[in-house]
């Protein structure tokens, strides 16, 4: 019965139904068969309850801040700053791409905003310099995925809600792996540039560098507000999100004057729509995860393994990594998080593994799965943004996926990559 439900859900998913439909049908099927006495209005109650946690306010607020900044000039200013310092070095342009994506991820938390903002500015330059388009696009897509790890991260907020762990700790724990990925991508870019023998760019003079620093100093205040605020305990993640909206409004409207008052309704509408299409999955995901917990499916699936993983936490981490990676190749990370997390929670609790480490691993797998063929959604984002065929975008991705998997292995072997900063801030 259970297998049949999952097959049905998968089928509806592949057919292209909005993802909320398979989740609801799956939940209903289990409910009707196992608990005919429970009414479907309980599902509605769970859906409403799923989108109500106060910490979720951080999601629309960070999206709003990102939308304001995407409308303004923040991305270009960050990019100019990085380019002024590394543009003339070996691999300068792709390294600028990797670092700028990480920085913009730190101010916006949105993969797609990052692909659009950085990609449209840097891709033409990289092509002109002689880099292959497949490498360029794969670099952009994968670097933008680092935005999932670098706080503010929407995936981290959602995992925090689904697994009931601290979002602030999730944020801080994402920094280490995010920076590690940025460094690996930079080294790979350097090697590609050397192999292709790309001519070095011109060195930027100190006068221009100072100008770039001056231009970027206000946008660089975002990570300070968000991370500094959370790290110091001054702000909760929700408060940090509200402050980032406030900060974005002040710098884009009052200082740079790149966003007008009349732009605000349009920006708010876009934020509302993006929030809703994500949150309806959060609601449906919550309903689904409530039903499978009610039916004790997690114990049914993982029950025999619990004793084993309690003795071998590493095996559990590997199992978690593989499950989320595969799931995110097919569905949105939010769906994967809500379907899989309740299944693993009993095992995680029994094993004594740090739940924040698990969360960071899950967010990392979401990032990798999202860029992995056949169905990783970031590939489709790139198709839409760059207007290139599927195969051309996919061709450059394998080296990046390998690097990201290496980071996964490193994270499992050395949890301190994620937990060091967290322990420093919260313990």
């Amino acid at each position: 019965m259970l297998a049949l439900t999952f097959v049905l859900m998968f089928l509806l998913l592949l057919m292209g139904f909005p993802m909320v439909v398979p989740l609801i049908i799956g939940a209903l099927a289990i409910l009707v068969v196992s608990f005919p006495e429970v009414g479907a209005n309980q599902l509605i109650q769970q859906m409403v309850g799923g989108v109500r946690p106060s910490v979720l306010v951080a999601v629309p607020m960070f999206i709003l801040a990102a939308d304001i900044m995407t409308k303004g000039h923040t991305a270009n200013r960050l990019l100019d700053l990085v380019h002024a310092f590394v543009g003339h070095r070996r691999g300068g342009l792709p390294i600028t791409t990797a670092v700028s994506c990480t920085l913009f991820g730190a101010v916006s938390g949105s993969t797609q905003a990052t692909v659009v903002a950085i990609g449209s500015a840097l891709r033409p330059k990289m092509l002109k310099a002689g880099y292959k388009d497949s490498f360029t696009m794969a670099l952009l897509v994968n670097s933008s995925d680092v935005a999932l790890l670098i706080p503010p991260s929407i995936a981290a907020i959602i995992y925090g809600v689904a697994a009931n762990v601290s979002v602030g700790e999730m944020f801080i724990a994402g920094i280490g792996p995010g920076l590690l990925i940025m460094v690996m991508f930079s080294v790979y870019s350097w090697w590609i540039s050397k192999r292709l023998n790309i001519p070095l760019g011109e060195r930027v003079g100190w006068a221009d560098r100072l100008r770039a620093i001056r231009g970027a100093i206000l946008p660089m205040g975002f990570p300070v507000v968000v991370l500094g605020g959370i790290y110091s305990g001054l702000f909760s993640p929700t408060e940090a999100a509200a402050m980032s909206v406030f900060y974005a409004l002040i710098i884009e409207m009052l200082v740079f004057r790149s966003v007008k008052f009349s732009d605000l309704p349009g920006i708010a509408l876009s934020t509302g729509l993006i929030t809703a299409v994500v949150f309806i999955l959060v609601g449906a995901g919550q309903a689904f995860s409530w039903v499978i917990s009610l039916a004790q499916i997690p114990t049914e699936i993982l029950g025999p393994l619990i004793d084993h993983v309690a003795a071998n936490p590493t095996h559990l981490l590997i199992l978690i990594a593989v499950s989320y990676f595969v799931a995110c190749m097919f569905v949105d990370p939010i769906v994967a998080i809500f379907v899989l997390t309740p299944i693993f929670i009993p095992a995680i609790n029994a094993s004594g593994v740090d739940p924040i480490l698990v969360g960071t691993l899950v967010v990392l797998q979401s990032a990798i799965g999202s860029a992995t063929p056949p169905f990783g959604y970031d590939i489709f984002t790139a198709m839409a943004v760059f207007r290139r065929p599927y195969m051309e975008i996919v061709r450059g991705t394998p080296p990046f996926i390998v690097m990201l998997l290496v980071v996964t292995v490193l994270l499992i072997m050395f949890p301190q990559i994620a937990l060091f900063l967290r322990d420093l801030a919260f313990r």
Partner: protein
């Protein structure tokens, strides 16, 4: 967001439906804009108030009722927004296989998807209505402001119902016209520039960098 319109409606019934649909669309937009801006204002004032108070500034305070209003706004944004998502064909889905199809296969699958989604949404709307009746009969209200919950949560059955209506209208439009529509008012667009050139119309797909892939953009 502007719409990439299909051809004009010939039947007066369809024209009336479109008029009504536009009115509802306008209302959805107004609710979403107001909810997001209100949420932003509320939380900015609240965080500034809380921190200024902590720093000893007199007569300033956070808003104790912000939590319950935030929760209500989250519910309203979600359920009104999902209807708008359906209106623009933006609800998140995995369209890799769908995108490979052409002609009548694509249209057929589209009709299956929108019909099935409409059924699920109407079903949910019905149970949301029962849920609404339930909280109304219990008389639940928000803790600080005492606003009856059922008033705030009207968005739940209403939003789900309107989503069902959107999917039904999409089915209707796909059944009655030759082209494939991703929603009632918006036709699927492959190569925006080519189509625009062929039809001599202006590009109207507001702000979206490329509409060639139908994979819904997100976040």
């Amino acid at each position: 967001m502007s719409e990439s319109q299909g051809g004009p409606f010939r039947s007066p019934v369809m024209r009336a439906v479109r008029g009504l649909d536009r009115g509802i669309g306008w209302l959805e937009d107004a609710v979403l804009i107001a909810a997001i801006l209100f949420m932003a204002g509320l939380n900015v004032v609240n965080v500034l108030g809380n921190n200024l108070k902590d720093w000893g500034v007199p007569f300033v305070n956070g808003l104790s009722w912000s939590v319950e209003i935030n929760q209500a706004l989250l519910v309203i944004i979600t359920f009104v927004g999902v209807a708008k998502g359906a209106r623009h064909g933006r609800n998140i889905r995995m369209s890799a296989i769908y995108d490979q199809l052409e002609g009548k296969w694509r249209k057929g699958l589209n009709i299956v998807i929108t019909t099935g989604s409409a059924v699920v949404m109407f079903y949910l709307a019905y149970y949301a209505f029962l849920y609404e009746m339930q909280i109304r009969s219990i008389g639940q209200s928000t803790p600080s402001l005492g606003i009856p919950l059922w008033i705030l949560y009207i968005a739940v059955p209403l939003g789900l119902f309107l989503t069902g209506v959107q999917y039904s209208l999409t089915t209707l439009r796909n059944l009655t016209e030759k082209e494939v529509y991703r929603s009632f008012a918006e036709r699927e667009v492959y190569e925006e520039a080519d189509l625009a050139a062929v039809e001599g119309r202006k590009l109207t797909e507001g702000g979206e960098p490329g509409a060639s892939g139908q994979k819904e953009d997100r976040r």
